[in-house]
Amino acid sequence: MYRYDSYDQSIVDARVDEFRDQVQRRLAGALTEDQFKPLRLMNGLYLQLHAYMLRVAIPYGTLSAAQMRKLGEIAAKYDKGYGHFTTRQNLQYNWIKLADAPDILAELASVEMHAIQTSGNCIRNISSDQYAGVSADEVADPRPWAELLRQWSSFHPEFTYLPRKFKICVIATEDDRAAMRLHDIGLKLVERDGVIGAEVYAGGGMGRTPMVAPLIRDFVGEDEIISYLEACLRVYNRYGRRDNKYKARIKILVHEIGVEEYKRQVEEEFAHMRTLGLNPPTEELDRIRAFFAAPAYETGLGEDIDRADPAFALWVDRQVAAHKAPGYAIVNISLKPLTGIPGDASAEQIELVAGLAEQYSLDEIRVTHAQNLVLPHVKKADLYAIWQKLDEAGLAEANLDLITDIIACPGLDYCALANARSIPLAQKIAQRFADAERQAELGELKLKISGCINACGHHHAGHIGILGVDRKGVENFQLLLGGSGAEDASLGQITGPGFSEDGVVDAIEKVTDIYLAERTDGERFLDTYRRIGMKPFKEAIYG
């Protein structure tokens, strides 16, 4: 894992000091809320439905045990004993007191964490693959690139007041576990003629105008990635729309002027940028890379897993993924207990996972955009012990990528922007499909719920997506089918008129019935939908 040097540490420390000063000015009345708001947002502090909310950055979803433990401590000490892992691989606290916020940032800085640029019209936290560094088929570990970009984007002087927020993702495998093409810029590391570089995709995103990002450059080498991204951002900063915040994301610019024209402008700017010496020397990426070198895996480990306990065997089959090192496995920890809140974890659960990482996973934890956690380096021999501890803490649900592994935004229970509640609906769906055999029968089925058009719950990218809307003061839910955030990215289509909360659960059941009746061998829900189209589903739902 990356560790701060004195430069990195001094920047986050100075940020704490700066925010303490800003909060004091606010509490003393020297700053009005209008003046303070953009400053607090730059530190991820929102005024939400019930209280202030603090969003903490988890760069590329990687945490050490000590960082995880600190997140739990903060939840217990300053919040109401829990935190919420988001679809951006970040963590949100829902009940923060303004006067405590600087102390919380200081606690975060003590474990090399921060909340810098977790809101605002700037470059946000860089996201990545939760299996980075441990999947056998990756071209290179994407995290050194992501860390390079984290540093480059922190307090970028030219790109802090962009037309709108800007999200960048880096992956390095054919399988896309990070919804790369639904980012403002997506980088996919590739190898060409023995050299590692990035394919660049631009103009993806969800929100009210969802778009899958087109390829804008086939290859950018690591020695030029910064100057190339500066070119992409400069064109966007200068020409992205500022007259309407709903049309201000880069996807609208790329769409309105066309991919070819955007590419042309970027190439022209890049030709200029590459003369300015903006790129760190290759030694800098090498320095960062050294932090992500493969840990010292033990050798001679057994591959056998004792499957005598059927509940454990079920969990292994569902939650454990292949690791590149012999004798090791990747453990996915579900934060989707059937009656729970997707992505929420109590201070005690966070502490437990920190302890497990320390004891069994070489000190590392990952956060996924699907709001689950990962222990990336687990010996197969330790799986049973881990499962027992997770089970005691209510964290042993075996539903990865199944219909109850629901992505849900906080919705109207917490969010000031929401039009409808997402979480109660997620709970109703989970209870309707609670039967483990039924879930397994349905197979991979990604269900994603957003409580408003901003799409934090990725509803456009769900095999089944749900969008909550406000219909004359009553919660109403639209159903979408056929989306995907993976390597086969696509956008879901709305089935038709919306439903009540119970009505949409019934409709989903009808949709799954059609799938079971129509599927051919080996077809996932998404495959069947793509083959037979919307019509049969629509007929079943609306009769």
């Binding site: 009345g29 005024l47 439905l49 019930h50 209280a51 202030y52 109401k80 917490y414 979480i423 709970q427």
Partner: protein
């Protein structure tokens, strides 16, 4: 009736204008008539509230009921965490927001 709500500047707690000061209980809300915006400005300037705004509500037998579900959820707390609402011992409290 028109009532005034916002968040406590320091704690962030949801608060309701109760006539002489602020309350955590929506039931204490006073009708602010046409004075809501002036009150909001004065109270924000006095650093007692942030994000204050006027909403429609009705006085019912069970107390003051904000017109919009969003404000009813603000008044109660998150319906998915009854333990953190203002009525932690009432399992059905969430029904009030619908």
């Amino acid at each position: 009736m028109k009532i005034l709500t916002g968040n406590d500047l320091v704690s962030g707690d949801v608060i309701w204008w109760a006539g002489e000061g602020w309350s955590r209980q929506v039931g204490d809300s006073a009708d602010v008539g046409e004075h809501g915006d002036d009150l909001a400005r004065a109270e924000e300037a006095a650093l007692r509230v942030v994000g204050a705004y006027v909403i429609d509500a009705t006085a019912t037998d069970e107390g003051v009921r904000p017109a919009h579900i969003k404000d009813r959820i603000r008044a109660l707390g998150p319906t998915v965490r009854p333990d953190l609402t203002l009525k932690p011992n009432d399992a059905d409290a969430g029904n009030w927001v619908i």
